[in-house]
């Protein structure tokens, strides 16, 4: 599904280059559940963003479902990730001015899904995560765990093939974290590919593979 070959990413610092990713190669197949680990500042988020096409890289090749991402235009890339990828963030990143319902609905709006279908899909999702009663509340009226549930529901609404989660449990207590991990396992069993960044060995255990990063390089 994902094929990264000799990826370099840097930012210019003065005249020199500060490498965020160096010569990073990685393949991930469909249906895998991968955990990325490593110390703070090792480039985990950067890697996730590159995979999710939110960020550019400077050298190397990236194929996603056999399509060459590095040769695409911005618009095509947006089209691609809109269709296949869902994002979950440590800080949830819900839109504060929208209700739970509207937050979950938003990706569908950008994919021009019709009204009636949207309603059905969002209702399904609310059901699935047991948050029907909260659909008219705003994010700041929810606990962190509940907000992350909404975040995941939003990521799943467009039926992505790949979920990218950057420390999804980082702001949650262990019980809430466990709940999220169980959801991920379940999804993975249904065939969704999952890549998560985590600091916790326990959470990493839910996955099938662990990738260790240090200074922008894979070390294992």
């Amino acid at each position: 599904m994902i094929d990264l070959q000799h990826i370099f990413k840097w930012v210019p610092v003065g005249g020199a280059r500060n490498f965020l990713l160096r010569d990073l190669s990685l393949q991930i197949g469909e249906g895998e559940f991968v955990s990325i680990m490593g110390p703070s500042g090792s480039g985990k988020t950067t890697l996730l963003n590159v995979i999710g096409m939110l960020d550019h890289f400077d050298e190397g090749e990236y194929k996603f479902l056999h399509e060459e991402v590095h040769k695409m235009k911005e618009k095509q890339r947006t089209q691609l990730y809109k269709q296949y990828i869902g994002f979950v963030f440590q800080a949830y990143h819900l839109i504060d001015e929208l209700t739970v319902y509207e937050n979950i609905e938003t990706p569908l709006l950008y994919q021009d899904v019709k009204g009636s279908e949207r309603k059905a899909l969002v209702a399904d999702m609310l059901d699935r995560f047991n948050i029907v009663g909260k659909k008219d509340l705003f994010p700041n009226q929810l606990s962190g765990g509940q907000q992350q549930l909404v975040g995941i529901a939003r990521a799943l609404i467009a039926k992505p093939k790949l979920i990218l989660a950057d420390e999804p449990t980082g702001n949650l207590n262990s019980k809430q974290g466990e709940e999220i991990m169980n959801i991920f396992s379940e999804l993975n069993q249904q065939g969704v590919t999952i890549i998560q960044v985590t600091h916790s060995e326990k959470n990493a255990g839910y996955g099938s593979r662990i990738i260790e990063l240090l200074d922008g390089r894979i070390v294992n």
Binding site: T45, N49, H93, D96, L98, E102, T106, L109, D112
Partner: protein, 791 residues
């Protein structure tokens, strides 16, 4: 998609109430101002456009020998002659106005203006009828306007009622009301109250006016030329009548005639004399508001752009999330523009409310202007509103839209664009706002100072305790006698000519040159009562015939026309018509039309008491109203049937004062609005700068920076732009204010140093207070808390 975005927009508007209110209010003031200015501009150029045949209608102007300007008046027989002799002319209409006393039923006599015209009047012009018929072919018919009907008959139905013209005279005429017309619109050069047939016109000597009287100059004559291309030829052909008229009137010899298209009739300001038709507002009234309104609108757009960008950090997260969820850049720009468009739409709605208050207030400030905004029956206005909405949305919204959608999601989430920037562009926008504020504040100060200056202005004659009464040869002596007994009257002077109400133009000749001059034929002690100020020589000897017919007193301006000073003018010989006279004195200049016109040359000659028609009354100090009332009471005692025709001398100045005060008020409010807009823009940007530097400021304070240094850090990126816009603003303010002032008032005080100092001080104070509030707030935060929150 849209419903989602609309919901979001409304929630945002509600959540950031302060921001929304300031911006919508600011924009609505800008939009309202522009609509006001636009309507004023359109009004100014809409005169006489409502007549269907307007392209076929021409007014005949006369060029008189020795007079530089054309005259609006025209020999009476020229209309019928042109129709009879010239094939290109299909019809004519003549107009003549008199003020006369009028009476209906038991009511008291009223002084009213009656317009005498031909039955063809209604074939030429489109003045709609309310009731009855518009038929004046029958000589006993008279038509009223709605206003005059109300004035004369109150709520009674006027149709079929009788009106007495020249009430109280031996030749009074009963007329039957045949119809009521709508009031002529303000943008009509032809204004009337009562209309009747030309043949009813009675001259001063109580004889009827004859249609072939070449000595008579009618107020206005129009020709209808069905093929307008023939107008040039007709104009040439009219020249053959000039000698006939010239023979009849040696004092006003016509040289040739000019055809003025109806569309142009209202466009003459100073280039036509003896013009009874109303003129459109001056150019300053058409263009001044546009300039002001554009400045305010620009300032409110800048304010929107600046506060939106300054606030964009609150929106960045939302934008980032939307990008991650698949919104592309165009969609985000569209959303942001839509948001702006909606606010502008609300502003446009609010502007209609503002203008429903402001337009009537404005109409009341100035006579001769009546504007309205009929949004739904005026397609041009509706279209203007649409373009205004679109234009303001783009101008105000484009920059923020691009700014806010520029960053990509990862940058936003990393926090590297945690706050929207105070970049050069937004600083330049703020600078522009400051510049606009400078201009309006300088104009505000300058115009209110001009208002004061003109209030205390020396016109060259008395205005405050003086009024004049119009009389005729039958009433003069008796009334003079009676009034001289009045308690509150200090002095009286009988005269024929009178400043700003009764004078004639002469071609004054000396040294072989001929100069157009206003001649006032004045009576004994006129100079004393009117407080004329003599610069040299002497005035006419009172109560003696010694100075009759061969002496003249010139104004300084009249003397200077011949290159004379007050001293060298004395003893010079001058000539006009058949009179030869010696200059015996020179007066200070007289501002006969207040401040609106340039000083004109004036001359005084002495006239014998039998010619007196005006009594000038000087009251005891400060008792002018009491004296006026007393004079009126004495009049009704003597002549209960006749209207009392009297005028306060300060009426000419009163109009100028009113106009001036109104203009000063308008500028004052515009200055306040633009200053407030600038203050909010500044506040937004400074808040942003401080937000950006909060951590830096906290650290500096921990290591011991003084508040002064903090102030410097916050402001250093603005100082250059402040100074630059202040300097530019001062120059632009001076230039624009002078331009506008000169356009409105020929005599004005201009812009002086202290005005600029006050203006700059005012603006600096505003800036300082705005900055002070924000910085004081910042300094009151505890550095430790700031640092903890910003790790």
């Amino acid at each position: 998609m849209f419903s989602n975005i609309f919901k979001l927009i409304f929630r945002n508007l509600y959540r950031y109430k302060y921001y929304s209110i300031v911006n919508i209010l600011g924009l609505s003031i800008g939009v309202a101002a522009l609509v006001w200015a636009w309507q004023t501009y359109r009004f100014s150029f809409s005169y006489d456009r409502f007549h269907q045949d307007r392209d076929q209608i021409f007014r005949i102007l006369s060029k008189i020998e020795g007079r530089d300007v054309k005259l609006g008046v025209c020999p009476l027989p020229l209309g019928p002659m042109a129709k009879a002799d010239l094939s290109a002319v299909s019809d004519y209409v003549r107009l003549e106005n008199i003020n006369l006393s009028l009476k209906a039923g038991q009511e008291e006599a009223l002084n009213s203006r009656v317009t005498y015209t031909d039955p063809s009047f209604f074939d030429f012009f489109n003045f709609p009828l309310v009731t009855g018929v518009h038929e004046i072919g029958d000589r006993s018919n008279i038509l009223l306007t709605e206003t005059s009907a109300k004035k004369i008959f109150g709520t009674k139905d006027p149709l079929g009622q009788t009106v007495l013209l020249h009430a109280g005279e031996s030749y009074q005429q009963p007329m039957k009301v045949a119809g009521v017309l709508k009031d002529p619109p303000v943008n009509s050069s032809i204004q009337f109250e009562l209309i009747t047939n030309m043949e009813n016109y009675v001259k001063n000597d109580s004889a009827l006016l004859k249609a072939d009287d070449w000595t008579w100059l009618a107020d206005a004559i129009f020709l209808k030329i069905p093929d307008p291309a023939n107008a040039v030829r007709v104009e040439k052909e009219l020249t053959k009548y000039a000698p006939i008229q010239a023979k009849a009137r040696q004092d006003l010899k016509a040289e040739h005639f000019i055809l003025d298209p109806l569309d142009e009739v209202a466009n003459h300001d100073r280039d036509i004399a003896s013009n009874v038709l109303s003129q459109r507002p001056e150019d300053s009234a058409a263009y001044g508001p546009l300039v002001l309104a554009l400045l305010i609108l620009i300032s409110s757009c800048l304010n929107f752009a600046n506060t939106t960008v300054a606030r964009s950090n609150q929106r960045l997260k939302e934008m980032g999330v939307r990008k991650v969820l698949g919104g592309n850049k165009m969609q985000l720009i569209r959303q942001s523009l839509l948001e702006c468009g909606l606010m502008v739409f609300l502003a446009v709605l609010l502007s209609t409310l503002l203008n429903s208050w402001w337009l009537p207030v404005f109409n009341n400030m100035f006579t001769g202007i009546k504007i309205s905004a009929d949004y739904f029956s005026d397609p041009v206005l509706l279209r203007t509103m649409f373009w205004l909405w679109l234009g303001v949305t783009l101008i105000a919204g484009l920059y923020p839209a691009f700014y806010i959608s520029r960053y990509n999601a990862t940058q936003i989430f990393r926090g590297s664009v945690k706050f929207g920037g105070t970049n050069l562009f937004s600083r330049v926008l703020l600078g522009l706002q400051l510049l606009v504020a400078c201009i309006t504040v300088i104009a505000g100060f300058a115009f209110s100072r001009n208002s004061d200056f003109q209030k205390n202005f020396d016109f060259g004659f008395a205005v405050d305790d003086v009024f004049s009464v119009q009389l005729n040869k039958n009433t003069f002596d008796a009334y003079h006698q009676a009034l001289s007994q009045a308690k509150s009257v200090e002095a009286l002077a009988g005269t024929r000519g009178h400043i700003s109400s009764s004078y004639k133009f002469i071609g004054l000749e000396a040294k072989g040159e001929k100069k157009e001059t206003r001649l006032l034929e004045v009576g004994d002690r006129y100079e004393e009562v009117m407080e004329l100020q003599l610069l040299s020589g002497r005035w006419f000897k009172p109560f003696s015939t010694a100075d009759l017919d061969h002496t003249i007193v010139l104004s300084e301006k009249a003397a200077s026309e011949f290159g004379w000073t007050a001293e060298t003018a004395l003893g010079q010989q001058v000539k006009w018509d058949t009179v030869h006279a010696q200059v015996i004195g020179v007066t200070k200049d007289l501002y006969m039309t207040a401040f609106f016109d340039p000083i004109e040359p004036v001359a005084f000659a002495k006239v014998q008491p039998s010619a007196y028609r005006t009594l000038v009354v000087k009251s005891r100090l400060g008792q002018v109203n009491a004296a006026f009332d007393e004079a009126r009471a004495i009049w009704s005692g003597l002549y209960p049937m006749k209207p009392f025709n009297a005028f306060y001398q300060n009426e000419i100045a009163a109009e100028a004062h009113r106009v001036n005060a109104s203009i000063a008020t308008i500028f004052f409010w515009f200055a306040i609005i633009s200053a407030l807009l600038t203050a909010t823009g500044l506040f937004a940007l400074i808040s942003l700068t401080i937000l950006k530097k909060l951590r830096e400021i906290a650290i500096r304070r921990v290591v011991g920076a003084s508040p002064g240094h903090i102030v410097f850090i916050v402001n250093k990126s603005y100082i250059l732009i402040f100074v630059l816009s202040l300097v530019l603003g001062v120059f632009a303010g001076i230039a624009l204010t002078r331009l506008l002032m000169d356009l409105i008032f020929v005599v004005n005080v201009g812009v002086h140093g202290p005005t600029l100092v006050y203006s700059i001080a005012g603006i600096l104070l505003l800036v300082a207070v705005t900055l002070g509030i924000k910085i004081w707030h910042t300094l009151s935060l505890k550095p430790s808390e700031v640092l903890r929150a910003n790790q």
